[in-house]
């Protein structure tokens, strides 16, 4: 494998610099991984060329600002010409969405951070929120009330911060799915998988401490759980609690709140910025993984085994414009959600511990894992008393094992040869099946976490549901893994392709048919539960809005139908529509009087 070696790059750079003038003759063909524009080949209009053959200067001869800057800063192919591979599914943009939502988090967070007061001592809230006016509440809670109900644009920006956090974490997760299923984590891209995993963990930590800051009922419950979970770590538990929280929660809340505030607004964001920079530096250095050569079209197709350069759109101007659209679309989506779907309505939540506490959705699987491990385990007549170990196993060990396997996965599924092209997930039965199984596991664990809502909606006591949920937690991920594996290995054999690593399952056609029947029943069950959950959430929503349940249901259906209608619209118009809609909807509620809104909540 002779890919563009770093030494070549440096050497040719030096040569140009030493010569004192730019040479139009290429140092060596195809040395640069960057740079071939999709059909854009500068002023020559001739044969497609690769690498540094086109000087940036030559590309934009009429742009005087650009040439002026280029003369001084050498805005050459290294950065502006960085090739972004073409991707027919848009899945390569998920990382960008994560990056842009981080920017919105920083911006909205700065607004909130300037007004939030990290104090736990009681103050009298004097403001618009009718439920709390004139009452003694913790300072942090009062300042969030003030931000939300008494500050122009405050509610909108707080909701935008919350939604940006959701989109940040969701985009990171989807980005990781893309990298996993397309095999983009393999040699030589393992370092960036590790760096990215650290980013995910930091994002989750940000989410946890951010949730804690308003000091309302939900945040206190979630933080108490997190605090006691940390204490469940053997030997160093108490020291870890002191390190992470700076005191006991909730009894020493006065010193814990400033501690968490510092972590949330300074330490973790600073680490995030640094590590995002590292993530992107590694990406620039290694180039993207690219769709396999078969997907390269037309005269740009090199020999199939030639991976010495990457084909794609250069950062400037093509990818830049696309990224701007993605940035605006992210902004529009965040403002749309923030304007229409208020989350964490603090005046309604209040200070009392909620009747069914729940963490943010991205911790729901940990919450479910905690619920699943009983203190006493009876199996075949023997009883194992787990006692205090139950919370360690459920809250620390199981999540650590899942996350740990995820982090070291590139070392488990490694190749000796560098792989520069993505793979079709359908061509990798074992990995794809495992990935699907892992996703199903997080989903069923999250459902376990929502057992309370479940039993409320279905009307069965929670302890009756427990055995079924345990069964489901084991059965569903396993069944899905096996089914996907069977399907893909069969497909590979039919097409005469290698099936890759993995066991050859002794399945028969009858077995597969029964498996399918089982999965159909499960799917129907999911559907039924899904309908129940939708009606349940409509009931819940109607308790906030005061609308009749059936009307609330129609309202929800309208929103979802509206979103579905948007699907076939070309992305550019969609972006435009969402930007306009986001602006209109995002700005509109801020003009409403805070007091009149607070009474609705």
């Amino acid at each position: 494998m002779t890919r563009d070696s770093p030494d070549d790059d440096t050497a040719s750079d030096d040569a140009v610099a030493d010569g004192g003038e730019r040479s139009d003759s290429p140092p060596a063909p195809q040395t640069d991984g960057a740079g071939h524009a999709g059909g854009y080949d500068g002023t020559t209009g001739g044969e497609p060329v690769h690498g540094r053959e086109i000087e940036t200067r030559q590309k934009y001869p009429n742009n005087r600002l650009f040439t002026w800057l280029d003369d001084r800063l050498e805005l050459n192919h290294e950065i502006l010409g960085k090739a972004f591979p073409e991707d027919k599914y848009g899945s390569f943009l998920l990382g960008e969405i994560a990056l842009f939502s981080f920017i919105f988090l920083a911006l909205t967070g700065s607004f909130l951070g300037l007004m939030y007061e990290p104090v736990a001592s009681e103050v009298t809230y004097e403001g618009n929120a009718a439920e709390w006016a004139g009452q003694e509440v913790p300072g942090a809670f009062a300042s969030v009330l003030t931000i939300t109900y008494d500050t122009p644009f405050g509610m909108f920006l707080r909701m935008a911060h919350h939604w940006a956090a959701y989109i940040f974490i969701a985009a990171i997760a989807l980005h990781m799915f893309r990298v996993f299923f397309s095999g983009a984590y393999r040699n030589p891209h393992e370092p960036n998988w590790f760096v990215g995993s650290v980013l995910l963990l930091l994002a989750l930590a940000e989410g946890f401490f951010g949730y804690a800051l308003p000091l309302d009922g939900f945040s206190k419950a979630a933080t108490t759980i997190g605090f006691n979970m940390t204490g469940a770590v053997p030997v160093i538990g108490e020291w870890l609690q002191a390190l992470a929280f700076g005191g006991a929660f909730p009894s020493q809340v006065g010193q814990v709140i400033p501690h968490m505030y510092f972590l949330h607004v300074f330490l973790f964001p600073a680490l995030l910025v640094g590590i995002i920079g590292l993530h992107m530096m590694i990406l620039m250095r290694q180039k993207h993984t690219e769709h396999a050569p078969s997907s390269r079209g037309g005269d740009r197709t090199p020999a199939a085994d030639d991976d010495s350069f990457v084909v794609g759109s250069p950062l400037f101007p093509q990818q830049f414009l696309l990224s701007v659209v993605v940035l605006l679309l992210t902004a529009a989506t965040i403002s749309f959600l923030a304007a229409l779907f208020p989350v964490q309505r603090i005046a309604a939540i209040g200070l009392d511990s909620p009747s069914s506490p729940s963490p943010d959705w991205f911790f729901m699987w940990v919450f479910g894992s905690l619920k699943m491990i009983p203190a006493e385990l009876s199996l075949a007549g023997t009883t194992i008393v787990l006692g205090g170990w139950a919370e360690f196993i459920g809250g620390i060990l199981i999540p650590m094992v899942i996350i740990g396997v995820m982090i070291v996965w590139p070392l488990i599924d490694n190749t000796d040869e560098p792989q520069h092209f993505t793979v079709d997930p359908l061509d990798r039965p074992a990995q794809t099946a495992l990935g699907v199984g892992a996703i199903m596991l997080t989903i069923v664990l999250s459902i376990d976490g929502m057992r309370g809502t479940f039993s409320e909606v279905i009307g069965a006591p929670s302890s009756t549901l427990y055995p079924y949920l345990v069964l489901m937690t084991f059965a569903i991920p396993l069944l899905f893994t096996v089914r996907v594996y069977v399907w893909l290995t069969r497909r590979q054999r039919r097409l005469g392709r290698p099936t890759g690593p993995g066991v050859s399952l002794p399945y028969s056609a009858t077995a597969v048919r029964w498996l399918d029947r089982g999965l159909t029943v499960l799917a129907l069950g999911f559907l039924a539960v899904g309908i129940e959950l939708v009606t349940g959430s409509a009931t819940l929503a109607s308790s906030f809005t005061g609308l009749p349940v059936i009307e609330q249901l129609f309202w929800l259906a309208r929103v979802f139908a509206g979103l579905l209608l948007l699907l076939p619209v070309p992305p550019v118009y969609l972006a435009l529509a969402l930007v306009l809609m986001g602006l209109a909807l995002g700005v509109a509620p801020a003009f409403a009087k805070p007091a009149s809104r607070s009474t609705r909540l």
């Binding site: 005191g247 909730p250 009894s251 919450f367």
Partner: protein, 206 residues
Amino acid sequence: MSSDTPPEEPHEEIEIERRQVAKVLAAVSGAGAVGAFSVSALAGLGESGKIEPPEPLFVEGVRLVDADGNPLTTADAIPQTETLEPTTVYPEKEGGGAITEDRAAVLLVRFPEDSYQEPTNLDGTVSGYAAYSKVCTHLGCAVNGTEGNQFYCQCHGSQFDPLQGAKVTGGPAPSPLPQLPIGVEDGQDGQLLLATGPFEGPVGPQ
């Protein structure tokens, strides 16, 4: 050392030795620098964030009051029933009012007097009333649900039996909810409920 230079044994040895010594020195000083800062920082943080056991909120003679600070009497705190209808009560603040801290919350239950069984501390019950901490021993959530005649923690599904000293009957909690021994004193409106001592075990997860 490139291979085409003639071997110069002594020179090479010195060179390698020097390099090794430099490496060791760099490693030691690097580890020392990193260690000095991280050990002092971590030790300092660990010490300053030290978790201190809070003062007990219930001592002998502290009255039980509702969230608004009204004292509770044996006659009307909870109607006499066979089913579980817990009420959340708090210790009375000095000079009136309630201490509504999370760790102070108490679940007050009432059953027929003879229905309590071991390991309930029967001396800590009065006229069919028993009191238990509301803080779940699993991860510190407020136990604010019931299922049948059991306390049910909505967080992670731990169950406690109020008739058997709030012992764990299901879910992940490792130990029973500590019982608060209660008694009565005569007041204007009847017999007022009060604590006859602190909780019989540690409150919350340990």
